[in-house]
Symmetry: C2
Subunit: 420 residues, 2 copies
């Protein structure tokens, strides 16, 4: 069998992990494939920089025109970002190359178009590593659960925010201190917006929505709330009430619509996803026959992510077959009603009767309460914490606007989704 | 495309779940396959019994000779047991049918031979549902982690024993009471041996060993210890020391050998597998590049298991390709050294100096201790609990024989593996 000619776009940490995994296990991988890789070209910014010793310096190029697609069987895109990665992948697919990518932003924004180009050119496009790093989420959804209609996804898809929330919870430190810790340890970027404001998790949820529900959202349609405003006080009230806080990407499919959101969420302490700590990721999948399954592992890092990229390449070489995937849903729109239980913390005047009046105000909007925590602090104001039963978010907002206007309410401080 | 002609061997709860899942999602499944199923024959003991309304009574037969293999594309074996399932599967493979089975005992004992027959006849044999019910363990190991060398497996593979141990832990009831509870709820058979003595988990571990390590054990070679002797006292000492008890199937591969065991094991309370409760199963997989991942879900039940069987059938119809799988290991033998930390509970005379003398006796055998719990109970005897550092099981046994012979030792009551 002829060698598989590989070209790599980019040589950052994931590409390094991809190559290192191959050289680590080359004997067994070549045996499984019945062939071997020939690394033909690597496109980088600085072609003279020394990198992996197994690759000759001569294959590095700094100009895409020298990245000769005609000599390649498989292009591995690990440069990240939408442009120019998108143009390069299109050219590779049109030149008859299979493509493997770990690029979540690109797949979330341009996945549909790229998949169509791949189909048209009779080549394969794989992207396991774009969601959940080393955890085989895409393969599980597309190939292992094909007998199921997937009705719900609930994932910790961003390791940085999970690390920060874990530190806040365990060490009782505030967001800013936990973020600094994460930055010092390399778990968070110096500009942490993509992670802490939920963009990264939303891109990943967009990809999963396509594969699990057959619904391709514009990432803008995904309702996003980050973790900057989560306070130790909320975390501690949550624990007292039996909940842990996680930044969850949630997708739910009904017959008429798909609801997609990324937001800090309280989940019961004994729920399996509550014990996913530090930089680990997990995805909870509910199928209409299999019930609930969960996949857990490292959602980032050179070797885990590189290993997922390499498994995709091996699959292309051995099976030459596409994901089975979901049927594309017809007439199902993205719609965020936010029908859920909610945690609400407010600061009120510490006077008799206030709790009762607020409970009545909730009742006026048809909102019933699951739990209440009231605690005098000996000052003018006292905190009040409520967990509601299921209610539409709009209706809750209406009720809270009315409640906030009362003279005995100083401030509504937190509104957090609760999964029971 | 012609219809897929399906024959089913057996119509118990898994077969019912298989059919129900198909009829539940038939629209989408047929679309994914580009074809539909025609159920041709179902082999049962009593062909006149009323079963699934979607299947005509006329297709039930009670004689394998009437189960016409020539008209079938795929045979689904869900009768269980080694014989006659093994002979029927062989005939089906030799007649050119693909086969899907959920039969763990058969795959553990005859899997190698059946796979060879399938290869020889150029047909596929799939068995996802034989391990972990609805959790896609076999697919993940064989197709999603192909870039990795898998070095360790650690699984809760038996729901009955996990249910019993969860009840014992949470409700502080002894084994016999918890078993009765499980039997009443249908989680345990009236003859619970296969589950509580570790046979069921050992069959599953044998299958996983082939796929993950490329080593096919005789199920007899797997060291087995059940949960009958686990007492509340051990569970409570474990919790005090930060451990939960689980019946774990553990496989570890080194360069020279594979170690395979099923035994009650203490694992740290914050380990993800420690929060797998009730009848749920989970498999922890360690790859040499991806690191640690865990898959969690329902390991039994009509719909979860039936859904896994059906996903296998869909995969055969759509992809017509075999698992990528592991390379078969050469010269790697099964060997159980039991190099591990251990929990040891003993009853000793409540006299000064006893603890010191026992610690010295451990030291004489080169065994160092990680923790000790000593607690006077005001009687003649007192319990002593030790957790050792890593030691070979044989050496520990030698030390404990010496210690048991001392006049101040009444009895060695428990020896339990500890994963740190």
């Amino acid at each position: 069998m002829k060698k598989q000619n590989i070209g790599i776009l980019g040589m950052g940490i994931v590409a390094t992990g991809f190559c290192q995994t191959y050289f680590l296990n080359q004997g067994e991988i070549d045996k499984k494939m019945g062939t071997t890789f020939e690394f033909k070209k690597v496109l980088v910014k600085n072609k003279d920089k020394k990198r992996i010793s197994e690759l000759p310096q001569s294959i590095y190029v700094d100009d895409f025109d020298q990245f000769d697609l005609k000599e390649l069987d498989i292009v591995v895109e690990l440069m990240g970002g939408v442009s120019p990665a998108c143009e390069y992948i299109k050219k590779a697919l049109e030149a008859g190359c299979h493509v493997v990518t770990a690029n979540k932003e690109l797949m979330a924004k341009k996945g549909k178009e790229l998949i169509q180009i791949a189909h048209k050119n009779n080549v394969l496009l794989r992207y396991e590593a774009s969601v959940g790093g080393g955890i085989p989420l895409i393969g599980t959804i597309n190939d292992s659960l094909t007998s199921n209609k997937i009705v719900k996804l609930m994932g910790i898809l961003n390791g940085t925010t999970n690390y920060i929330l874990t530190k806040m919870t365990k060490e009782k430190i505030e967001f800013d201190a936990a973020l600094k810790r994460a930055q010092t340890l390399g778990f968070a970027e110096s500009n942490p917006t993509a992670d802490v404001d939920g963009f990264d998790a939303a891109y990943k949820l967009a990809i999963l929505s396509k594969d699990a529900f057959g619904v391709i959202p514009d990432p803008e349609e995904i309702s996003k709330q980050g973790i900057r405003n989560i306070s130790i006080e909320d975390i501690e009230y949550g624990l007292e009430l039996g909940y842990k806080i996680k930044l969850l990407a949630i997708g739910e499919r009904s017959n008429a619509h798909v609801e997609l959101s990324v937001q800090p969420t309280f989940i019961p302490i004994d729920h399996p996803i509550a014990s996913v700590n530090n930089e680990y990721n997990a995805l909870y999948i509910e199928g209409n026959s299999v019930g609930e399954i969960m996949l857990y592992g490292k959602g980032a890092g050179a070797m885990p992510t590189g290993s997922a990229v390499l498994s995709d390449v091996v699959d292309i070489v051995v099976k030459k077959s596409d994901y089975i995937g979901s049927c594309m849903a017809q007439n199902i729109v993205v719609k965020n009603i936010g029908f859920s239980a909610y945690y609400v913390r407010m600061e009120v005047l510490d006077l008799p009767g206030v709790l009762g009046q607020i409970a009545v105000a909730f009742g006026d909007y048809g909102i019933s309460l699951d739990s209440v925590v009231q605690r005098a602090r000996g000052g003018q104001f006292a905190p009040l914490v409520f967990i509601t039963h299921d209610v539409e978010r709009m209706k809750l907002n209406d009720a809270l606007r009315t409640i906030a206007s009362k003279e005995y309410v100083n401030e509504i401080q937190s509104i957090i989704k609760v999964v029971k």
